[in-house]
């Protein structure tokens, strides 16, 4: 069956919180968040691969990325190009700032309404906010079915999409009509590497903001052709209620943030007695290293 699909992958730029080594640590033993590199959220890479595999099987399909974030998140769209996507949109506006998952999903849903995808593929969870809520909330806002924890998009059967899900104690295969929102789990195959040709072709893809920045700052301005322009959308482009965006559209508030302190720089020696082990475990629990 040759079905041409329009697939939108939701991808977020995140600080790399997974592998916080000793060099991303401050003197006081807390994590220096600013020292963490900004990366393509890992499970969104798995999501992109699933989209590209669908495109491989359905020639003529289009894979687009949608990311919400500051100007530098345009990097997400370029990374998508390098790996075989056909383009993308950067959703960026001061009015989106301070969004919790509800306000984030509202903004993404408003943009998706303009894009008319057949399939929306997200990562299961972002490694900074760590909530796994945005996928299902986007689905609800668009009144679409959702299939979470996907490990593999298997293919079409009776005009519906078969998806294999990875759950705590096993796997489940489901059949969903389209359009639908699918969230992809880390156990799905890794994303293919960058393609050298795509890299050469798309490394000058820019948003208008980056272009203007470039004209002012760079001694060697590279003007990218119109075809390499990454579109930027704000509230004015996607419409909707202003009060649903950003901080004002966010019912949850962060009351307090406590940094985890990683103690004990010099090595402490312990015997195997229950008392000493118990003291160590209590310390690990109270410093939130475990539990």
């Amino acid at each position: 069956m040759t079905k041409k699909l329009k697939i939108v992958v939701l991808a977020k730029q995140v600080p790399d919180t997974r592998n916080v080594g000793k060099n991303a640590m401050k003197e006081d033993g807390t994590v220096n968040r600013a020292a963490l590199p900004a990366i393509f959220n890992p499970e969104d890479m798995n999501a992109l691969e699933q989209a590209l595999r669908l495109k491989d099987r359905h020639p003529g399909s289009v894979v687009l990325l949608l990311t919400m974030g500051p100007a530098r998140a345009a990097e997400i769209i370029r990374e998508g190009y390098y790996r075989g996507a056909d383009g993308g949109v950067l959703l960026t506006d001061r009015k989106f700032a301070g969004a919790d998952t509800l306000a984030t999903s509202y903004a993404l849903a408003m943009a998706l309404k303009k894009m008319h995808p057949d399939i929306i593929i997200a990562g299961r969870q972002a490694i900074d906010g760590d909530t796994a809520q945005v996928g299902p909330q986007v689905a609800e806002k668009l009144n679409l079915p959702q299939v979470t924890y996907a490990e593999e998009i298997v293919g079409f059967e009776k005009n519906k999409l078969v998806v294999k899900r990875r759950l705590e104690r096993g796997v489940e295969s489901v059949r969903t009509p389209l359009p639908a929102v699918i969230t992809v789990h880390a156990t799905a195959p890794e994303c293919r590497p960058r393609n050298a040709k795509q890299l050469m072709r798309f490394k000058h893809a820019r948003t208008l903001t980056e272009e203007q920045d470039n004209e002012h700052n760079s001694y060697l301005p590279v003007i990218s052709p119109e075809s390499l322009r990454i579109p930027e959308w704000g509230v004015a482009d996607v419409g909707g209620e202003e009060s649903h965006y950003g901080l004002s559209g966010s019912p949850t508030k962060v009351k307090k943030i406590e940094n985890i302190v990683f103690q004990a720089k010099e090595s402490k020696r312990l015997t195997s007695s229950f008392e000493e082990i118990d003291m160590l475990m209590t310390e690990l629990i109270s410093s939130h290293t475990i539990g």
Binding site: G21, P136, A186, T187, K265, I277
Partner: protein
């Protein structure tokens, strides 16, 4: 109105532990707030569970029973939950942070335009004063959760929207039945009036138990075993500790070569490189080819009977002794202290 509703999950004909943990916690919260503790249970034959829910303190049980609801399906389950929350207007609604809870709760919160806090490890009642407006709030639910890959602990509140919704991680709260069960009531939900045929557009075509794939790189805690663990059977101790801590099991090459663990678990120069928050090395001598793959871990605990083993040099905590004694003590201590 203004009560606490716990979403009750069942698995293989049993109520999930996390739901009973939430009921236990819910009793304390309901006591502090002077409101009722209620439960919502959905399934194809869930009547059998009502007594157990009374044992855990549910004063009202909302029961949605329908043969089409044998397995969890997002759309009909969320339709029932949304309908109930609209009618009953709970002040707090809690779900397990399981694959079901984390599929259902966000959908419900979006439909009700009410905030949701993910994967909490602690819940408390407290007050809040809004810095800007000076507005004061009494008796809010403090939803306490790790975020940022476990590097920070955030306290989240939901001042203006109801219900205050949260998913809570399994195993972090105590589960305790009452000495005398409450005499509660069962309220049957008429599912036919709520769910529509369109809610069944997604069909389950197959379910089966399958071993999870190994994902060591993504794990914030790694328990690694070496040749000193001694046997494949002894490795089970490491799996046991890993399961209570929510960790993954890694191995040295000598342990992999001896057949104690799968090759996919090997850490080091010819294995994978990891940088978790906590690395526990048991029965590993600490040769450079091994430490090259783990010495950037934020915290290292070594367990080795040889006081001169090189692994102790790079550890933050070096435990000198037999891992066969030490690991069970760690498990015991964790269980005693974590609740």
């Amino acid at each position: 109105m203004d009560n606490i509703i716990i979403y009750i999950e069942t698995e293989g004909g049993k109520i999930s532990d996390v739901s009973l943990e939430l009921l236990t916690k819910g009793r304390t919260l309901a006591g502090e707030l002077s409101c009722k503790l209620e439960a919502l249970i959905i399934g194809s034959s869930v009547e059998q569970h009502t007594q157990e829910l009374f044992n855990y303190g549910a004063e009202t049980i909302y029961l949605a029973q329908d043969k089409r609801l044998e397995h969890y399906l997002t759309l009909p389950y969320s339709a029932i939950t949304i309908d109930l929350f609209k009618k009953e207007r709970p002040q707090i609604a809690l779900f397990g942070a399981t694959s079901v809870g984390r599929d259902l709760a966000p959908r419900v919160s979006s439909a009700l335009v009410s905030g949701l806090t993910a994967d909490c490890t602690s819940l408390e009642i407290g007050n809040h004063k809004e810095a800007k407006s000076g507005k004061e709030y009494q008796n809010l639910l403090y939803q306490i959760r790790p975020a940022f890959g476990g590097n920070i602990i955030a306290t989240i509140i939901n001042p203006d929207c109801r219900p205050q919704m949260a998913t809570v991680r399994e195993g972090v709260m105590k589960k305790e039945p009452l000495a005398t069960p409450v005499k509660g009531v069962v309220k049957v939900i008429e599912t036919k009036e709520i769910i529509k045929t369109e809610d069944f557009v997604v069909e389950i075509i197959e379910r089966h138990i399958e071993e999870r794939k190994i994902d060591i790189k993504g794990s914030p805690i790694i328990i690694a075993g070496g040749f000193g663990v001694g046997s494949k059977e002894n490795f089970n101790l490491l799996y046991e500790l890993a399961s209570v801590l929510g960790a993954e099991v890694g191995a040295s090459r000598a342990a992999v070569d001896a057949g104690f663990a799968e090759g996919a678990r090997q850490i080091g120069q010819t294995g994978i490189t990891v940088r978790p928050k906590l690395y526990i090395a048991a029965g590993i001598s600490g040769q450079i080819q091994h430490t090259a793959g783990m010495d950037q871990s934020a915290m290292i605990i070594s367990i080795n009977s040889d006081p001169n083993a090189p692994i102790h040099q790079i550890a933050d905590y070096a435990i000198i002794g037999d891992m066969n004694e030490i690991i069970p003590r760690m498990i015991k201590s964790y269980k005693l202290n974590s609740k």
